[in-house]
């Protein structure tokens, strides 16, 4: 990494990070979810951030604007648009830097063009979506209604983005740091899909869970063809045969990612007759409901997908032999439920409950539905 250009150097004296409270007794820090992303990114070696303000994730670019002045080669640009930000990300990535951008739902829609190009060019980047209510401008309350866009690809072409969905500030830290390694390892964008609630809540976190992966040498970087032939970074492939081969190559990479990077958590699933399937903030709510259902004597468990793509289809299919009902709970009108149905291939019944952006279900509400389904279907017998 080169020294920062004087043109980019700050004209003020940077202040030390002071936006979190450090416990005197442990290495835990009390931090807001949005700033956890920023600190985790810096600790994972991210030197570049490009973004455009949008609520409810603004603490993240604000944090990076200060924090990156303390990093050698650190670059922060508040871009003129989300389109520009994601293309600055592409430039920094092809120049070899670890780079991140973040936004919330409408802003992520604008970044889709760039995400498609990052995938087509096989360039690593970490993209954060603190989801808010939609469609359109919607509102700034937490939601999970960007699941389709995240897992299916909101941009054009046959591509996949690794999607990681944390459910706590600690997991935000752990997954953000690992996201950079996954992105570099596979040369593919990784999306952190959280929501306004995770972005705004404060919890104690540690950044010591991260053990960096060994990353292959970046033999695609454009930094001037010194002592090597020149390189071209492109997704434009005019030759039809080469175009097809490029896409099959991407498919082979996605299969490898599916094998290696599928993540989930199971909670009280050993004897569960009813499995709640939920991710992120919804999974936190669901876990509270599952604990209460257990204390009421119901054999209920939770499957929490942590990677939304690749989706943990195998474990859901495997549980179908002993679990009679899969209850999908989302903060949307039903998107991940499609993946659960595809995973089950009709082996078990699926029930959906969700509320779109604006209102967040309580554990009591979810417990009420669990109880009704559990006893109506006579799962206790």
């Amino acid at each position: 990494m080169n020294a920062p250009d004087a043109a980019c150097a700050p004209s003020y004296v940077p202040r030390p990070p002071s936006r979190y409270i450090v416990s005197q007794k442990s290495n835990l820090k009390l931090m807001r979810g949005n700033t956890v992303v920023g600190e985790a990114a810096v600790r994972a070696g991210c030197t570049c951030y490009f973004g455009y303000p949008i609520t409810p994730q603004n603490q993240l670019p604000e944090y990076m604007s200060r924090r990156l002045t303390e990093v050698e080669g650190g670059i922060f640009i508040q871009s003129e648009s989300e389109l520009s930000a994601i293309n600055m990300v592409l430039g920094a990535s092809v120049a070899g830097a670890r780079v991140m951008t973040s936004s919330s739902s409408p802003g992520i829609s604008l970044k889709q063009e760039g995400i498609s190009f990052l995938c087509g060019c096989e360039l690593p980047a970490v993209i954060v979506n603190m989801v808010r209510g939609g469609p359109g401008l919607g509102n700034i309350s937490p939601a999970q209604s960007d699941y389709f866009q995240a897992t299916r690809g909101g941009g054009h072409g046959d591509y996949r983005v690794v999607v990681l969905a944390p459910a706590s500030c600690q997991e935000v830290a752990d997954l953000t740091m690992e996201a950079f390694d996954i992105a570099d390892y596979y040369r593919n964008p990784v999306l952190i899909l959280a929501d306004g609630m995770l972005g705004q809540m404060m919890e104690p976190v540690t950044f010591e869970n991260y053990s960096p992966r060994e990353i292959p040498e970046k033999d695609y970087i454009l930094d001037g063809a010194k002592n090597r032939p020149s390189r071209i970074n492109r997704s434009l492939i005019l030759n039809p045969q080469m175009m097809e081969e490029h896409n099959w190559k991407l498919v082979r990479k996605y299969k490898t990612i599916e094998r290696n990077e599928t993540r989930y958590e199971e909670f009280m699933m050993d004897d569960a007759k009813l499995a709640v399937v939920a991710y992120g903030t919804a999974a936190r709510i669901a876990k509270g409901a599952v604990k209460r259902a257990r204390s009421d004597g119901m054999r209920v468990g939770l499957i929490r997908p942590i990677s939304l793509w690749p989706f943990p289809s195998d474990i859901i299919r495997k549980r179908a032999s002993k679990t009679d009902l899969f209850f999908v709970f989302e903060m949307s009108t039903g998107q991940m439920v499609d993946d659960v149905r595809l995973a089950l291939e009709g082996r078990s019944e699926v029930y959906f409950h969700g509320r779109p952006g604006g209102i967040i279900s309580t554990p009591v509400e979810v417990l009420r539905i669990i109880s009704r389904q559990y006893y109506q279907k006579e799962l206790g017998k």
């Binding site: 920094a92 063809a225 020149s230």
Partner: protein
């Protein structure tokens, strides 16, 4: 060879190659050509090259140049890129004073997509999407994008040239070399606009196309230096040190 007979791209691409060679920068250069005929440049320039989405070249160049501040970075864009889909990226990169160069190929039409109207199309000029000639009332006036950029503080050197004669070609080469030199001196954003013939989409012979540039295009887009704040300029490093 991808370019049509009489096209300006092949001339300007060669000029860029000559300048890079003369500056001995071939192993420290990154070129960013986005969509359109300009993207084909990577078939002819033996330097590190990254494509960009249509209009996004200045954003991609910003990312590259900020990470690699001692490399020669330039975008190679058509008028659709510069003056339509990428207006925001271009203006804001110039305004930030990003130290890269934009080579702006202005042929007043969308070339690769088949000769549709561009923001730079002349009043009265017929294209496939302005078949009765561009009208100010309906389509607005041609956008003088270089003049617009010239008023921004971050832009330090902007010149408009053409390649319609041997002298004009030599002049364009001089302008490109100056822009690259100014860039490496980290003085700010540099831009060379080249009025370039597109005989195929203008439905003219190459010679007639050159005459049309000299007689018609230069009326709307006058040749010459639009801005030069490089002489005695303190440079951004010095400015930031104050």
């Amino acid at each position: 060879m991808h370019y049509c007979p009489g096209c300006g791209h092949s001339i300007v691409t060669k000029l860029i190659a000559e300048v890079i060679e003369e500056m001995n920068m071939a192993d420290r250069t990154v070129c960013i050509p986005p969509a359109g005929c300009a993207v084909l440049t990577y078939n002819y320039l033996d330097v590190d090259t990254s494509e960009a989405a249509h209009g996004r070249a200045c954003a991609v160049a910003t990312g590259i140049k900020r990470v690699l501040p001692d490399r020669l970075v330039f975008t190679y864009q058509g008028d659709g890129d510069m003056a339509a889909i990428g207006t925001a990226e271009t203006i804001h990169a110039a305004n930030r004073g990003e130290c890269f160069t934009t080579i702006f190929m202005n042929n007043a039409v969308y070339g690769m997509t088949g000769g549709q109207m561009a923001p730079t199309t002349l009043v009265g000029q017929k294209t496939t999407t302005s078949p009765f000639g561009r009208s100010v009332q309906k389509e607005g006036s041609p956008i003088p994008i270089s003049e617009m950029i010239a008023i921004l503080n971050g832009a330090v050197y902007i010149e408009r040239t053409t390649v319609t004669s041997v002298a004009a070609v030599r002049n364009t080469k001089r302008a490109i070399k100056k822009a690259f030199t100014v860039q490496m001196d980290k003085l700010g954003f540099t831009l060379v606009e080249v009025l370039s013939p597109c005989p195929t989409n203008w439905k003219m012979t190459p010679l007639k196309a050159c005459t049309w540039i000299e007689e018609e295009m230069t009326g709307t887009y006058p040749l010459g230096v639009l801005k030069d704040e490089t002489a005695g300029a303190p440079g951004r490093e010095a400015a930031n040190a104050d």
